[in-house]
């Protein structure tokens, strides 16, 4: 295993007025693993903790509990300096392609930054060659190095962000909503590029997105999160083809189909009510307040992730009772 996390938690102290501080549990009891060259998709809606989890896995958010192993070595207690040393192998691509680049730096300077830190002995000429090669590898001309970010479109800026993330040939790249800010017509260009880079460079990805159809394209495994907890995880085809958790099924059912004939006559089962505050999540199963299958025991005991099929894990007391009580999603 490249990366393995068990019972990971991330908590933030939030101000609750005078002399009172409260803890926000952004991620609670998350377990996951990622093998070399694989892609773990993390899906869920706002506030589910998917971005926080992604950051915690590469040392950019503090772990409050749990065990995290990188290539077999414990890294959950690592100091900032320790994480910096690992940074060569762990990179990140952000959602906002233009905002994540320094507008005063040329594209070449931005892409070369990791080289300056990790390969300081590289000559200027060698560095320039590496930058040019990397830009070409992500589908931009080498000459882009001398220009500034604002001269490029959103899709091109995201290619620049990807070039910066892969120039050191890392083992793992966390992609945090990498195509969400892009026009539909160019989203696929970036997804296809990420797929090619994975195959050519042997990268692994943690691919975080709210877009379930995009996640399906890249992922080998998928984790579904809700309010900081993992609801379901497993191989891609199991999650998309045989989703077991009521939340996963409703999430998939909510995705619109671009066909008026289908979309207008469709009835959906959607989570009822509103997302509870992460400051006071429900006892027991965190999804129970919005779940049509919820019953007394869901409030009493928190369901643990249990294996429903090889590699397919689910945190629900009632998963065996499917599909009664909910619409069956359309065939896909």
């Amino acid at each position: 295993m490249l990366l393995e996390g068990r019972d990971l938690a991330v908590r933030y102290r939030v101000s609750g007025g005078l002399l009172r501080s409260r803890w926000l549990t952004a991620v609670d009891g998350a377990s996951l693993s990622l093998s070399s060259g694989g892609t773990l998709g993390v899906v869920g809606e706002s506030g589910c903790g998917k971005s926080t989890l992604g950051r915690a896995l590469i040392g950019l958010a503090p772990l409050a509990a749990g065990e995290l192993r990188w290539q077999g070595q414990r890294v959950d207690g690592l100091s900032a300096r320790g994480w910096r040393r690992l940074r060569r192998e762990l990179q990140i691509v952000f959602q906002d392609p233009l905002g994540s680049l320094d507008p005063r730096m040329t594209v070449g300077q931005s892409v070369a930054e990791p080289l300056a830190v990790f390969e300081p002995s590289l000559s200027r000429a060698a560095r320039r060659t590496r930058v040019g090669e990397t830009l070409e590898r992500v589908g931009l001309p080498a000459g882009a190095a001398d220009r500034y970010p604002h001269e490029f479109s959103g899709g091109q800026c995201q290619r620049i962000g990807i070039a910066r993330a892969v120039i050191l040939k890392p083992r793992l790249v966390v992609c945090d909503e990498p195509v969400s800010a892009l026009d539909v017509s160019v989203q696929g260009q970036v997804v296809n590029l990420l797929r090619e880079l994975r195959d050519d460079l042997g990268l692994a990805y943690l691919f975080i997105s709210h877009n379930l159809a995009v996640v399906r394209h890249l992922s080998t495994e998928v984790v579904v999160m809700y309010l900081g907890r993992v609801m379901e995880s497993g191989p891609r085809d199991a999650i998309y083809g045989r989703p077991l958790h009521p939340y996963t099924r409703m999430l998939l059912d909510a995705v619109p189909v671009a066909d008026p004939q289908i979309e207008r006559h469709r009835t959906r089962t959607l989570p009822s009510g509103e997302l509870p505050s992460p400051l006071s999540p429900p006892d027991g199963c965190v999804f129970r307040t919005r779940c049509p299958l919820a019953e007394a025991r869901c409030a009493e005991r928190r369901p643990l992730l249990q294996e429903a099929a090889p590699g397919h894990r689910i945190a629900c007391h009632r998963w065996r009772e499917w599909p009664t009580g909910l619409n069956t999603p359309p065939d896909r």
């Binding site: 809606e45 706002s46 479109s153 959103g154 899709g155 091109q156 026009d183 539909v184 017509s185 160019v186 989203q187 696929g188 260009q189 997804v191 296809n192 797929r195 709210h210 877009n211 379930l212 159809a213 995009v214 399906r216 394209h217 998309y240 409703m250 999430l251 998939l252 909510a254 995705v255 619109p256 189909v257 671009a258 066909d259 008026p260 004939q261 289908i262 979309e263 207008r264 469709r266 959906r268 959607l270 989570p271 009510g273 509103e274 997302l275 896909r332």
Partner: protein, 321 residues
């Protein structure tokens, strides 16, 4: 008579880099009760079209052409616009925080929307506000009346913004990317709400969006914009089933779906979205697989009946290319 009519609308902005033309001659007629979706990507001019029509352009923008609501010309008529906005035309924005007043409670701003235009008493307005919150399925409406916009979840905030726009019973509701900032389950709920409101209130709806999935659930008619112009329009069912403009077809193919073939790469439109430069030809020709020498001259929007396309090489109406 059409409810809203745009004729040869142009929108220009003065910028440091010179003049930028965001909308380059737009014709549109919205009939009472119908739902028209204006679809396009960033820079297509879809939002600026409606902002110009309702007198809400940024300070450096100017609109020319003709805009009429129920036959009355609106362009350059601030007094008439002020009268029409609200009871004539309601507006819902992508960011509900932007369409609500931050320092007013939900109850106060809903009541205000009514009092301004109808001279209703405060008590009656509050009763009506509560009824409207129920109407848009806001959970726990009594508690919401006393809350401020920032205390609400994104989905509830958007429902409140819709309620505020609906209070004066507009004949036309313009919704600009109303679901873009929402999570997918909330988006599905808001789309269902719009469908339900149209059926019960009979208002016309202009939906401005980049999201073809949302369009499929709501629109009677679809207008596709690219680089400030309409490239295709037609009834939603026909346009989705057999798009005629290569851009429309490309956009539909590029939309990621849950049943995409995973062995193949994702379908995309090559190249980058258009810049703001002037162009005598078809703006899509740089990204188009069908482009020829003829495309150096811009094609007119032409067609029969309700379907029109601006392309020298349109695909067969029966599908395929």
């Amino acid at each position: 008579m059409a409810l809203l009519e745009l004729e040869s609308l142009h929108v220009r902005f003065r910028t440091r880099e010179g003049e930028l033309e965001a909308v380059r001659g737009m014709d549109l007629a919205v009939e009472p009760g119908e739902c028209v979706a204006i679809v396009g990507e960033s820079g297509s001019g879809k939002s600026q079209t409606l902002l110009a029509a309702t007198g809400m352009l940024a300070a450096n923008g100017t609109a020319s052409g003709r805009v009429a609501f129920e036959g009355e010309s609106l362009l350059g008529q601030p007094a008439r616009l002020a009268r029409v906005r609200g009871p004539g035309i309601g507006y819902v924005f992508q960011d509900a925080l932007g369409s609500l007043t931050p320092h007013l409670t939900v109850g106060a701003q809903l009541a205000e929307a009514l009092a301004v235009h109808h001279g209703v008493s405060a008590a009656d307005a509050r009763t009506e506000a509560r009824r409207m919150l129920e109407r848009v399925q806001v959970p726990d409406p009594d508690a919401r009346l006393g809350q401020y916009p920032h205390e609400l979840s994104g989905g509830t905030r958007q429902r409140v913004a819709i309620a505020a726009a609906l209070m004066p019973q507009p004949r036309l509701l313009i919704a600009d990317e109303p679901t873009t900032a929402l999570d997918v389950t909330v988006q599905a709920q808001v789309v269902a709400l719009f469908r339900d409101l149209r059926a019960s209130l009979g208002m016309a709806l202009v939906l401005v969006t980049h999201d073809l999935g949302v369009v499929a659930g709501l629109a009677d008619r679809v207008i596709v914009m690219y680089a400030g112009r309409i490239v295709e329009e037609g009834p939603a069912v026909a346009l989705f089933a057999s798009p005629r403009h290569p851009y429309t077809a490309g956009l539909l193919a590029a939309l990621p779906r849950l049943d995409d073939d995973l062995a193949a790469p994702m379908r995309t439109i090559p190249g980058v979205p258009p810049g703001a430069g002037r162009d005598a030809g078809c703006a899509f020709r740089y990204r188009c697989g069908h482009a020829s020498g003829r495309c150096e001259v811009r094609p007119d929007l032409a067609g029969s009946g309700s379907s029109r396309v601006a392309c020298h090489h349109p695909r067969d109406p029966g599908g395929g290319s």
